[in-house]
Amino acid sequence: MINKIFQSAADAVEDISDGSVVMISGFGEAGSPIELIHALVDRGAKNLTVVSNNTGSGNVGLAALIENRQVGKMICSFPRTANSTVFPELYRKGEIELELVPQGTLAERIRAGGAGIPAFYTPTAVDTPLSEGKEVRIFNGIRYILESAIKADFALVKCKSADRLGNLIYNKTARNFGPVMCMAAKTCIVQAREIVEQGKIDPEAVVTPGIFVTRIVEIPHPAHESQLVLENRRYPWI
């Protein structure tokens, strides 16, 4: 019988090892799987390549993972936001690598990774510094650059509801990168606010079909990153 439910965040991230490529959902704190990230901080895997739109804020969540020196490279579109200090400091010191990707290209590269498409042409970033070294091709008189797919060993994703088969629905703008990241990772680990009985999610309303999901952990009351930042909290908790 298929049962993707894990009892704890720690169990769910147990096999994330050094050098893994890890996708982390979220747009700022909306959709960021903070409990799974903290479990990965506890796990201590190093030299990770992390694919995420931002680089976290304060000293919790993704920022804590970076501060704990577990991330060798970030692939993201917007590495600085309000209260984002950990990444900028390490970047200025040359101690973390950055691959900057336009946000839509990032989403599409991840989607392509999950859909078996190795690369695609896009007009985004043509004639800008972010197209340097990329193949250019003209279709119907317009110039496009070749962008490659991104795949991951693991995805850490937050959603609202899941069933034991891994069907997911999300909450408002916390959906963002979750669905495409679920598709693009060999092992997709999801934290859900609630795990519901099979059949409770309307098949017409399923956003991520269960086939893309490997593990589910129920986290009924996820921490609010902005609240923790406001309180100057730091992970690991002290």
């Binding site: 936001t81 990444f87 290209t105 985004t124 972010l130 408002k172 959906r175 979750g178 956003v207 990153e225």
Partner: protein, 219 residues
């Protein structure tokens, strides 16, 4: 005697109002972070405009009342917003398919520099110690049908932002359609930059003096 008032022009809200007047009924619009966000407040009555925010919402409403903010209902600037009746949520690849697939009618963005040919620089100064961050700007300028720029005419140091050639790294080449500044509204055309409207008390000569490239006028 100098009777021409040359040191004022439109304020931020009046600039936003000018942009809003040029958004047709029924448009799907994406507003950039900061000054462009003001535009939403000035859409004339009787026009229905649907706002897209690239983090996955079509039908973005105004900011919620204090105490009703939802950290999972935000805009691209990561500020709390609301969703109108009839709004919908979607994932990032769909959201950027709306942008990159040419489905969004108008995008209003800020600028560091705009060139005579409509090149836009608005994401990086290119300085060695700056943290480069691009977000969705390059996707928007390459995919949205019409790009409006709303910006102060000159920098804080008084340097022209409308120039012959951008010195900052480009966001996109030949992408800007119209520029709204505190001094004037300027169209980007194949024949060069054309002043369409001057702010009250502002002369064409004054606008020209504060612009890094030759301007034309329709009137």
């Amino acid at each position: 005697m100098d009777i021409v008032k040359t040191n004022s022009g439109w304020d931020r809200n009046q600039m936003a109002q000018k942009v809003a007047l040029d958004i047709p009924d029924g448009s799907y619009v994406n507003l950039g972070i900061g000054l462009p966000e003001l535009v939403a407040a000035y859409v004339p009555e009787g026009r229905e405009v649907i706002y897209h925010t690239e983090n996955g919402l079509l039908g973005m409403g105004s900011a919620p009342e204090t105490g009703f903010e939802d950290p999972e209902l935000i805009n691209a600037g990561k500020k709390a917003v609301t969703a109108i009746q009839g709004a919908c949520f979607f994932h990032h690849a769909d959201s950027f398919a709306m942008i990159r697939g040419g489905h969004i009618d108008i995008c209003v963005l800020g600028a560091m520099q705009v060139s005579e040919e409509g090149d836009l620089a608005n994401w990086s100064t290119g300085e060695p110690h700056s943290i480069p961050a691009v977000g969705g700007a390059m996707d928007l300028v390459s995919g949205v049908k019409t790009i409006f720029i709303i910006t102060q005419h000159v920098t804080k140091d008084g340097e022209p932002k409308i120039v012959g050639k951008c010195t900052y790294p480009l966001t996109g080449k030949k992408v800007v359609d119209r520029i709204y500044t505190d001094l004037a509204i300027i169209d980007v055309t194949d024949a060069g930059l054309f002043v369409k409207e001057l702010a009250p008390g502002i002369t064409f000569e004054y606008v020209q003096k504060n612009t890094g490239v030759s301007l034309n006028r329709y009137f």
